[in-house]
Structures are given as C-alpha cells and as structure tokens.
Amino acid sequence: MTSDDLDTVRARERAAFAAAPCRLAVCTAAGCLSSGAGAVRDALERTAADGADSPGLRIIGTGCLGLCHAGPLLRVFRAGAPDVTYAHATPDLAAAVVRQLPDGRLPDERQLPAMHPFFAHQHPVVLENAGRIDCERIEDYVAAGGYAALQQAMTEMKPDDVIREVVASGLRGRGGAGYPTGLKWSTVAKARGAGKFVVCNADEGDPGAFMDRSVLEGDPHRVIEGMAIAGFAVGAEQGYIYVRGEYPLAVSRLRVAIRQAERMDLLGQRILDTPFSFRIDVRIGAGAFVCGEETALIASIEGKRGAPRPRPPYPASFGLWGRPTLINNVETYANIPPIIRSGGAAYARLGTERSKGTKVFALAGAIVNTGLIEVPMGTSLRQIIFDIGGGIPDGRSFKAAQTGGPSGGCIPASHLDLPVDYEALAGIGSIMGSGGLIVMDDRSCMVDVARFFMEFCRDESCGKCIPCRAGTVQMHTLLMRMTTGVAAERDLTLLEQLADMVTRTSLCGLGQTAANPVVSTLRHFRDEYMAHILEHRCPAGVCRMPRAPERAS
C-alpha cells in the first residue's frame, strides 16, 4: 500500500463515518469490562440486530473513557446533537437506548450531566481518540487522522527534520524522569553502528498507575505509529514493546494492531512503498518491577534475569545486544504523532516554561472520581483533585497526594496550589513519575505509607547491589518498629542515615529512589513519626500498637 492508497482508505472511512449519523461507544478498557461492559455491548448489538429500523447506527468498543468508577460507560454520539454519556450502564439500559434512538429521545436515567466537571476540565492529546474510535479497528484510527504523521515523515521529511520537530516540541520522557526526548533521539541517531533498536517501555510497574495500560488497550496504533516514526528518525529497523505480564488485554490488542498495521504496509518491509522497513515484536514481562529500569529491561528482552547494569555506557550507545537503542515510555511515543502532524512549536504552546504538553494521570485512592485524566502541564493539584476528581468522598479531608509510586513522594495540603510540572514536583521532594496520583485522606498513616512502599522496594530489589538489597531490608525493619510501637528516637536517626546512604550508593533507579517515600513523608509529616516513636501512638489510627504504654498522652 502506498501513501496515496492510505489517503484513499482514510477518505472512504471518513465517508462511512459521515454516513453513520449515530455511534454508540462502549468503553472496553479492562476496568469497564470487569464491571460488565461486555454484556452492555452484546445488548446493544442484539437490540440493533432485532430492530432493522436503525440505519446508520454503529456500535464500537472504545478505549478508556476515563471515569472508571462509574463503569461501564456508554457514550452516544449523534450528528447535530450533544454527546450523551451514561454511567453504570446495564444491558437493559443499552437496549432502551437503541430502541429510543430513532425517536431521538434517549432515556434520562444514569445520564451524566452534559458538562460533567470530570470531562470539562481536561485537555486530551494522548487520549484524543478515547470514545471516538474502535480500539480494534485500524480503519477507525486512520479515519481519525492516524498514520498521517508517519506518512508525512516518510514522504515530506528527512530523519533530521523529524528530530528537529521533537526537539522543538520540548517533549520530555513521560516515564517519570523527564529527560528531553528530542535530545535522546538525536543521540541515538548520531550513534554509529548498524542494527539500532527502538524499544517501548510498557512495563508500567508503579502501583497505582494505569495510564500506559489504558493507552495500549484503547489506542494501540498511536504507540505503533510513534515507534515507527522514531525508527525512521534514528535509523532503526526493529522495535520491541516490553509489556507487563499483568496486562493480558493490552498484549492481545497490541498484537491485533501490529498484524493490522503489517497488512496495510505500515509496518514490515518497505513501509508505504518507501525504502524504510520497520517491524515490531512484543515481549511480555514476568512480574519484576526492576524491569522498568532501562538496562534491566534490556536484559529481560535478551532473555536474562532483569538485573540492571551501571551506566554509562547508556543504552543510546550500548543497548540491546550492544547496539544503540532508543528507549521511551508508552506515553512518550503516544505524543509523537500529534507533534509531527501539527508541528513541535504548536505542541510547545501547551504546558509550562520547562514542561511542555499534557500529562495523563491515573487518579485513585480517596477521591470521588477515580479514573484516567489528561491535563496540560502546569495544572494545579487542587484543580486535578477537587475540580476534576470531585474531591474527597465520605466528608473526609485531604491529607496528601502521592505521585511517582515507590520512587516518589507525598504532597501535603499546603502545596495543593502548586502547578504540576517536573521542576515544581521535584522542588517539594516528590517527582512527576509516570502519572499515578493516589489521594489519601485523614485515615491514612504516613508512616505506614512509607512502610508500604519500603516493603515494595524490599521485595522488588533485584539483589545485585548491596545498598539496595540490604538497605531496603533494614529500612523496612526500622519502619516496622515504628508502626508497631517499639521504636526509639535513635531508630529515626538510623533511618535517615540509611536513606541517605542507599540513595547515594545504589546501582540503579530502584535503589536510588527507594528512600524517597521515607524522606518526603519525614519532610512533611515528621510529627506523625514523632507520635509513633515518642508516644507510641498512631494519629491516624492505622497502626496497631499492642505495646503502647498506658500513660502515653
């Protein structure tokens, strides 16, 4: 298939889109499926097949609509009418919607308000296709402007031009560390040696983060397109996507998407009849958090234990099988097509001075609207948690937001108005991380939170370097002493010393950041630690302290 043929497909699909004035989109992300979206979809299809009086009706299974706690979600698109979204959709409701469509009067029950604040304050770029396309049809993606960026890169641009646009966009790595993407791309492009690789890190290991899962499940072609453009830009012909074993649905959708793209000559030999060839293979993780670290991930793709190695050399010069390798996160690649389509400068208009574009966050924990959101960089935590997230349920009060998973930190209420970008979060001792945002109310004990994350790091430490292997065990023991009420003040001193040592001397990111939750909770909630140590008392009432002395006040 040539670029012109792809244009023809796009035109045909768009005409078919226009001819179907009504679309019913069921969210078929893992969350909604587990709440019964499959039955809703079946009911839609059955009812539509029964009554032959619904011409121009299309039923699609779409990517994550975001409001996971209200699933299954069902969205109705009609030409010339505002969209309607149903929460907690049931098969009966679905059937009623299909039956009443011809009259144009939809059932009122379970409808979300037209301008629901959860949706109104968002700015989708990475998630722009959620709701609009069927996640298992490449034609839908093409009709929505998909693969146009790849076409453009292949037919109108040189690899250098592509890299220049990515640099101009100011895009930074969405995996958490925020390294400038354009710089990474140009380093790999300049690296000498044949047989370069492009790797997508989809080993989304931070507990509480499900952005990458949603993108892979809902819009897999976007990631494929971003990787193919990267391959063209850096001169690689082989790509790997390393997906967590915990995400079977994402793996199967990705495999379907790769096959579809190969059939349309968007992957494989001579893409769009140009000299450029690029193929993508899926590799499945096996439940090791450390494999999110890039050198460990490389070892795992090579079929070895996922143990990291010292850097330099960086993967950009010495990566997979010793070849120059570009490694980016799912969300980073998902940002590439819009950057190429509308230009890096246009993308850079979104966001803050040093953090451009948007960020996808997974809201979870003690928050009314749990789910997936996308906002411009620089949006305040208050807007995210209270305007979009709907605030704290059960009349409780906000205590802290945790970002960056086990490598991140807690943000207390006093920093709620902070604009969320890489520098601002680092400035208060947390990190952007990959986008998991867990809200905690006054029932969460921050010492226990630190213990929870330390337990995680202790279990996931690969054991290669001593500071991390032994340090996480010791820090966890100290935190256990505090949460069980047997700690003394010197335990806190020891904990702080150990935290500093492990941070400075560990081999890889896991150990270097393992103490972050401790350091950040100590910084903002030191009084809670003191209450545990001096008074053997847990202010939040979480920790059980059987040995607490009676006279503690």
Binding site: L33, P207, A209, F210, G285, A364, C462
Partner: protein, 182 residues
C-alpha cells in the same frame, strides 16, 4: 480422545500429572505446542522468557523436567534457566490450585483496605499468601498492581477482574469452588 498414557518416549518423564488447565487433553499435545513456540523463536537463547511463559501456560507451573527440557532446546545452561525462572514472580515452580484468587496490593488498593481482603480469604480457607490449599482447590496470590486502580480494591478470580471488593464478597466469590464451606 487418545489414551493419556500414550506418551512419546522422550516426553514421558516431562509430562507432569495433568494440571487443571489442560485437564482432559492428551499430554503429548502440550509438548507439541511448546516445541512449536521454540521453533517459532528459531531456538534462540534470548527467547527463554517467551518459552517459559508458554510452558507455564501449558502445564500450569514449571517443574524441574520442563526447565531442563527448555534449557536443552534453547541451548541455555540449567543454571541460567533456573535463575530466570526464579527471578520473575510470574513463574511458579510448584503446582497451582484448580482455582486462583489474586488480591491486588497496589497503592490504590492498599489505601482502600486490600490487606483486610487478603486476611479474610486467608482465614476463611486456611491458605497462606502465595500458597495453595492442601486439597489443591485454591491458590492465593497477591499482585503488585493489576492496573484496575479506578475500581480499588480489586482482586482477580480465575482471570476475571472484580472491582470494589469487600472481604465478605471475596470470601463469597470463592465459596462455590470449595468442596465444603468453612
């Protein structure tokens, strides 16, 4: 259906007693599928993880014979096969129960009290985390995060994700699998 004991010679020692996932299927077929996977990867040593994934899917767990078989086929020393199989949490060297319950202990689930769900299941069915009941009916496991944070606390019952779990609901969900309620 052919007699299950009609093994090919070299696989005789490799076929464990039919696991629950493949009950009723001749054991031979599983090795055919495993061989096909090994062939598809052109016997490349770097396909070790992929092949172990397939082997575990087929047999339910990885016993010593299976590990040896895979190592030989991919020309990887036994020490490395064992090292990889024990490094990753997904691979199990022990047989699993007929049914599985995985309790998510991710941050969102932790905040919403996943530890109480785990404790309730442990207590009701006398099964340790990452253990199996003596009758082989139920395996209990925990997960780092299954990515269903919007529905926290979540658990996975025989592969189906269930959100907004409570301790009582989790125990009730397992009850039909067990021979006698406790």
């Amino acid at each position: 259906m052919t007699a299950p004991d009609a093994h090919r010679e070299p696989t005789t020692t490799l076929a464990p007693t039919a696991g629950p996932t493949t009950a009723g299927r001749p054991a031979d077929n599983r090795f055919k599928i495993l061989d096909a996977t090994i062939k598809r990867h052109r016997r490349q040593p770097d396909a070790l993880l992929e092949v172990l994934h397939t082997a575990q899917e087929l047999f339910g767990y990885l016993d010593r014979e299976t590990l040896t078989y895979v190592g030989r086929a991919l020309r990887v020393p036994p020490s490395r096969v064992y090292g990889v199989a024990t490094f990753y949490n997904f691979f199990s060297l022990k047989p699993k129960g007929a049914h599985s319950c995985v309790v998510c202990l991710g941050t969102a689930c932790y905040v919403k009290g996943a530890d109480r769900i785990l404790a309730a299941v442990q207590q009701a069915y006398h099964v340790p985390p990452h253990g199996t009941t003596p009758d082989g009916q139920l395996s209990l496991a925990t997960a780092r995060c299954i990515g269903a944070c919007g529905l926290a606390p979540a658990a996975v019952f025989d592969g189906d994700i269930a959100g907004r779990m409570t301790p009582a609901a989790a125990v009730a969900r397992i009850a039909p699998w067990m021979p006698h309620d406790q």
